[in-house]
């Protein structure tokens, strides 16, 4: 069977010594973690390895010998190294030797108790120890189950290196009895700025924790006050309808997650916390930018000044539309009486709305000025406020839609029931089906009369319903786009994306092998590199959950509801009850 040796590329130029690492017998592979140099006392080495094994729970042992001779191959050294095999008695005993500056090493295996004496093929796989230690392997989503543990051999290797961090603390320059070479021995390149930042980060972190705990305390008390206030019905109704409040609640939850004192258990939780933190930071930064832009040159005053004329303009356009409907819209002939009634009703409604807007006009600027200040809480809050303002300004369109829909719905139900009467059938409520029924003559007469009346009045009502539904859908689409943007900002894992951009080896989807130069008679040389996760994979894995899920209805049920005149609420929130 093939023997695989995973050799860290940082140890390629190490002095002679013995190899320590982990032997994975199921895969017939040896993961070499470090090289112990001469002189050493075998008892001390065994003691040290026992301690490491106890701390890291990784079965580290002496795997073989490594000889790096600058001159010709020394016979005495090779015999000495073979003898070491008897002291440390590991089965199989791997001997790797490098001559001078040659790229091609010779690797041999000593098996004392093997049953089949045939020559095993050896594959030498070089890996970058630091990158493998820091990397996090992402299994593909469909195989992430209990069976995936034994199926993935690579995760065992990544695991071994990641858990042996304590082994990398001692160095060959240390004064202890054991002199090791591993990735730290080359000297980690670091900049002074990074070191200073690391030193300064401890007090900064403490300050941040204090601030955040203060903030979370305030938010907790605000939350409790809110839940007490929300017991009153009108406020809770308003709370659920305004998307700003939802967004604020969502962000408060995020703050609570960040400011909790518990350390993150695993990688996923750590990434989640980091993503929430960066997302909040960018959100608040963009919000403050927007606020500074709005308040410079008094743009918010100009905005408030144009708000009333815009509302007036919308109302005027609606009045023109209603006048058009009351005439002969698109050449269709309406029922004059019903047309006039509906048109006058809606016109009066618009008149009331305009009066209310004019009543509010002196206060608009002040309200808008103070509401605009809340943009400093984040860009998402500002967008939600914009969506709520649009909803409030087009409230009359919503009312018209509801009136038109209810009228149309009543008409449709009446028509369907009278149509059944026309054919001599009846809806059986008990059995939930259509049954035949014998009606009296006067019942039939009145039913048919009503049926014809409703049928001939249908085009008028249908036209009003169509026009107002289209207007309502337009407003819903605009609001939906804003909410889509808010959701995007909420759920994008910015920290993970930046990590993927700058330190792509931290998020690994797998590995890739590159075949290095070969020489006959020498073992196969491969270079193992980390294959980073694709950007789509990063977003999918680390997406932050949001509070809305859409679409609520499929296209077919939406069309059916529109046809029957039932009210549609296209955007559903997670907290809503199912009906």
């Amino acid at each position: 069977m093939v023997l695989k040796v995973f050799f860290p590329s940082c140890c390629s130029s190490a002095d002679s010594g013995i190899l320590i690492g982990r032997w994975i017998s199921e895969q017939n592979s040896a993961v070499i973690l470090a090289v112990v140099h001469f002189p050493f006392i075998p008892v001390q080495v065994k003691q040290y390895l026992g301690e490491v094994q106890r701390v890291t729970k990784v079965s580290v042992s002496v795997l073989g010998s490594w000889s790096n001779s600058k001159q010709e191959k020394e016979e005495s050294l090779s015999e000495f190294l073979e003898d070491l095999g008897t002291i440390f008695c590991h089965e199989p005993w791997i001997q790797i030797s490098k001559e001078g500056d040659s790229k091609f090493w010779s690797c041999s295996v000593l098996q004392k108790h093997s049953k089949n004496p045939q020559e095993e093929e050896i594959i030498l796989v070089y890996y970058d120890q630091r990158k493998v230690m820091l990397s996090h392997l992402h299994p593909p989503l469909d195989t992430a189950g209990p069976g995936a543990e034994d199926a993935s051999k690579l995760s065992a290797i990544f695991d071994t290196v990641a858990r042996s961090q304590v082994l990398f603390m001692t160095d060959r320059y240390d004064e202890g009895p054991i002199k090791l070479t591993h990735w730290q021995s080359d000297g980690v390149e670091a900049s002074i700025i990074v070191e200073l930042l690391k030193q300064a980060s401890v007090p900064a972190c403490m300050l941040l924790t204090l601030l955040l705990s203060l903030l979370s305390g305030i938010s907790c008390s605000a939350w409790k006050w809110n839940s007490w206030v929300l017991k009153f019905w009108p406020l809770s109704f308003l709370w659920s309808k305004l998307s700003t409040c939802e967004q604020l609640g969502h962000r408060l939850q995020h703050l609570q997650v960040i400011s909790s004192n518990k350390k993150a258990q695993n990688q996923n939780q750590l990434m989640r916390k980091a993503n929430i933190f960066v997302s909040l930071l960018i959100d608040v930064a963009l919000g403050i930018l927007l606020m500074s832009w709005l308040y410079r040159k008094n743009r918010i005053g100009h905005l408030a000044d144009t708000l009333i004329p815009v509302a007036d303009h919308v109302a005027e356009e609606l009045q023109d539309l209603l006048q058009w409907l009351m005439g002969a819209p698109a050449g269709l002939k309406m029922n004059r009486a019903l047309d006039q009634v509906l048109g006058r009703f809606f016109l009066y409604h618009i008149h009331l709305w305009i009066s209310y807007i004019h009543l509010l006009s002196p206060f608009i600027e002040m309200i808008l000025w103070y509401v605009g200040l809340s943009a400093c809480l984040g860009l998402t809050v500002a967008l939600c406020i914009l969506s709520d303002i649009i909803a409030l300004l087009t409230f009359h369109i919503y009312c018209f839609y509801v009136y038109g829909a209810r009228l149309y719905c009543l008409k449709i139900y009446g028509l369907s029931s009278l149509w059944r009467l026309f054919r001599g059938k009846k809806w059986n409520v008990l059995r939930q089906r259509v049954d035949s029924c014998s009606y009296d003559l006067d019942q039939l007469f009145i039913g048919t009369l009503l049926f014809t009346i409703l049928l001939f009045l249908l085009p008028t009502t249908a036209l009003y319903y169509l026009v107002f539904t289209l207007l309502r859908l337009l407003v819903v689409i605009v609001q939906g786009l804003i909410h889509l943007l808010v959701d995007l900002i909420d759920s994008l894992p910015l920290y993970s994306l930046i990590l993927r951009l700058c330190r792509s080896y931290r998020l690994a989807a797998g590995v890739k092998f590159r075949v290095l130069e070969q020489q006959d008679g020498k073992p196969l040389r491969l270079l193992m590199q980390i294959n980073p996760l694709s950007y789509g994979g990063v977003v999918q894995t680390y997406r932050l959950p949001t509070y809305s899920c859409y679409p609520r209805d499929s296209w077919a049920s939406l069309c059916k509801k529109l046809f029957l005149g039932e009210l549609i609420y296209p955007w559903k929130h997670k907290g809503d009850k199912q009906n």
Binding site: M1, V2, K4, S25, E26, Q27, N28, N116, E121, I123, V125, D142, T143, G145, G147, A148, D150, A151, S152, K153, L154, G510, V511, K512, F513, V515, Q518, P523, L524, L526, N531
Partner: protein, 191 residues
């Protein structure tokens, strides 16, 4: 040792198969498609610019011309980096796994490594592609729960689409290495 042979793809384009044996249990098979031709590039560019000049003559807006240049550049970059695959290779390392690489014209390489424990077999399959029936090589992945089942089929050489004669060569090379894992004493199979 390396050897190269010429074949035809399913659409009649000449492709080249290169086989390299690195060791007794490691083989690399690479299928190289034709490079980007200057002819087709200049034809596409001239077509876009002629259309742009026609629009410019109609509406007298120089924005159309700069937009055409912009579109040509962006389109070329997107084509070279995301669409045009120059070489597809298969690296089979017995007892480690199979690595599938696609090299794009811009130099980008996208790699997938499948561990040997997940590979059930490498087979030649038939598929209906547009109006033709073509042969393609695919890797069958083992279902972890069901030892007889197949959880996923990974098709290989999707952009160069070699014909059956080329596929048979690749299939024979792969099977020689896959057979080694059946003959070798498996200690990991004992569960």
């Amino acid at each position: 040792m390396a050897e190269e042979r010429r074949f035809l793809s399913a659409s009649g384009v000449p492709i080249a198969l290169r086989r390299r044996q690195h060791s007794a249990s490691c083989r690399e098979l690479a299928v190289r498609g034709p490079r980007l031709q200057l002819r087709s590039l200049s034809a596409a560019t001239s077509a876009v610019w002629l259309a742009a000049y026609g629009l410019f003559a109609l509406c007298e807006n120089s924005l159309v011309l700069s937009a055409a240049i912009f579109i040509t550049l962006i389109g070329l970059i997107i084509y070279l980096h995301f669409v045009k695959i120059d070489q597809e290779s298969l690296l089979v390392i017995g007892s480690l796994g199979i690595q599938v690489t696609s090299a794009y014209a811009s130099g980008k390489e996208s790699t997938t490594f499948i561990e040997m424990g997940q590979v059930k077999d490498v087979v030649i399959n038939e598929a209906i592609h547009m109006q033709k029936v073509i042969y393609y090589l695919c890797i069958l992945l083992q279902d972890p729960e069901d030892p007889q089942g197949v959880s996923e089929v990974v098709p290989l050489f999707q952009s160069s689409k070699p014909r059956l004669d080329c596929l048979i060569e690749v299939y024979k090379s792969c099977q020689e290495i896959l057979e080694q894992r059946k003959t070798a004493p498996q200690s990991s199979e004992i569960k």
